[in-house]
Amino acid sequence: MADSGKERFLPHITSAFQRILSGGWIYLLFVGLFGILLLIGIGAGIHALFIAGSRHAYATSREIPVAILIATYVFFVVASTGLCLVSSLGHVFGLENFLPLAKRCVYLAIITILSGFLVIGLEIENPFRMAIYNVMSPNFSSNIWWMGTLYGFAVVFLTIEFILLFNEAHHHKAVIAGFLGVITEVAANSNLGGVFAMMHGRPYWYGPYFPVYFILSALITGCAFILFFFFLAHKAVNKKPFMETTQTALKAVSKLTLLLMAVMMIFTAWKVLTTSVGSPAAATALSVLTDGPYSFNFWTIEILVGMVIPFILILASRCRNLTVMFIAAVMMIFSLFFTRLDMVVVGQIVPQYFELGVVEYPKLHAYSPSVHEILVVLGGISFCLLAFLLGEKVFSGFADSPQTDIRKEETKDVAGAEELT
């Protein structure tokens, strides 16, 4: 049995390994770099949690108990939901244009969730207890419980879907797994918003805004990740020209991005306007963003780099120039990371007793990440990029996607049919 398994899988493993080695020295250099950064990140996290103590190694405190690591987790899992949602438009809901995205998107959705899990695993003080008591002692009124559990299920469904996508005979099952994946991802994402939205002790977060915002933001993040990774995969890693169907898909994605960004701008404007006249604590938190220490982050990185310039770039490229769209995606992803960080930190930046006017809390809290935290974040990002690079070679650039093949055949058929008519 073991021998037959060995015989069955060994050639695949050997050839995948050879494909990785044949990637060229620049490819291998990046693989090595991300591998090292990943190991350093894991080492920094383990050192912080189990040797130095998070109180010493991380810059979080009683006042700001969660910060850049949770922001990174949010960044990745929201991206995963977005990737899953956008790709499901094709292979679950049947929108033809999005079909060629399926395999790589599902793979990216899996590795982004795992990147998030890696970072949060190095943030939570007792990750081993989590594995036990999440199951043994669940709190059904906790959004964190729902969020974690649903994302856990999402990984399982997406992995099953990914495996099934490789075999056209199981296409129907892949659609079912994909459907379950989408539902769990969206519910998990919404609950992630709920983690913040249900905190009535934090007026900046409290309210129905964030669960809805997170789904919208997930879609935008998903689009940006697709434009970014598809471009890199084709131009840098596999050095293959885009197939026409993939180009059509990416153009559809960029159109979707424009629409979603327009909605996001309206969302953001109304969040700013409504909060500015709301409770003093929420308004104070907002002023940190609009007119305080985080105003550069907000106006320059979130609004200008994250929304206005990419919107203009994509619009100017008429959703045709993939290089311009890639540049827009890079700006959006960079900005989205800071958007998550700002959201997490600003929500906690007003001291709970600020309005009492006591000498213990004369000013707002401050946070800047520690070296350990930055290393863990880089480790998480490196895991994502490393898994992407390896995935491109192991799965041969996802080129043999059954959907893509079918689409090609059907395109031929249509061309033939059109000629006939």
Binding site: R55, V186, M199, A417
Partner: protein, 245 residues
């Protein structure tokens, strides 16, 4: 491949059947999302009390509460020292402390001292957010307590607490907070927390809010002097009451 199939795949507009199928899926997703959201709210329903209900009826027996007669506090910090000794609070944390407010325009004393501690809320945001029920509202006495072995250290309860009453205790490997000295004193038959015993000016009055003969009941229910809670607008229904005089 037939023309019909081609048409199905490449018609610019979806067929009615496809459209219906798509809408059905949309409805299913909405249903699942709405269901999940409602489900995650179910268990909060029993915990939520309207303000009026809370005023008239106390859900625990004994319903432990504390009244802080703020103007009597002299900032001697004996309560804090007693708390630290009794509950082995490390130097980087606190379960109770005294905030100071300067009042330059005041005619008499220029300083006001405001003792703070866990408000043992009736609608505790920390309990709702804890994924593993490591922190819970005691069904008998209403004290918000910790089951340390279940604490995963996600710190969401620290984020959720409107009263800054929680911190991560390295030695315990769990969140630590005021439990009205339940573990160290009340459960051993001592009737009052250490801070109450240590206070030389009778600032802190502890007792059963559901017992009309208790001092806390009488102070909370008298009408001559105003009684308030901190951050009432949050809606956590705290059990720490403040008054002067």
């Amino acid at each position: 491949m037939t023309d019909e199939t081609n048409h199905k795949h490449f018609s610019e507009y979806p067929l009615d059947a496809e459209r219906r199928a798509f809408l059905k899926i949309g409805l299913k997703i909405t249903g699942v999302l709405a269901g999940g959201s409602i489900l995650s709210l179910v268990s909060t329903i029993n915990k939520a009390y309207s303000l009026d209900l809370f005023r008239e009826k106390y859900p625990y027996k004994p319903h432990y509460a504390m009244v802080l007669r703020q103007d009597r506090c002299i900032d001697c910090e004996k309560c804090m020292k007693a708390c630290i000794e009794t509950n082995h609070v490390p130097d980087y944390g606190w379960r109770t402390r005294i905030l100071k407010r300067e009042l330059p325009a005041a005619l008499d004393q220029k300083w006001e001292f405001i003792p703070i501690l866990c408000n043992q809320c009736n609608n505790p945001p920390c309990v709702r957010t804890c994924p593993t029920t490591a922190t819970y509202k005691d069904k008998t006495n209403g004290i918000v307590q910790m089951n340390n072995k279940k604490c995963i250290g996600c710190k969401s309860c620290i984020m959720a607490c409107p009263y800054d009453a929680r911190y991560y205790n390295e030695e315990k490997g769990a969140i630590d907070k005021c439990d009205f000295c339940f573990e160290s004193r009340l459960s051993k038959g001592i009737t009052i927390p250490a801070c109450v015993e240590a206070c030389p000016s009778d600032v802190r009055i502890f007792g059963d809010l559901s017992d009309p003969s208790s001092r806390v009941f009488q102070l909370v229910h008298q009408l001559q002097r105003p009684v308030w809670v901190l951050r009432q607008e949050i809606g956590a229904k705290p059990n720490i009451f403040y008054m002067k005089g």
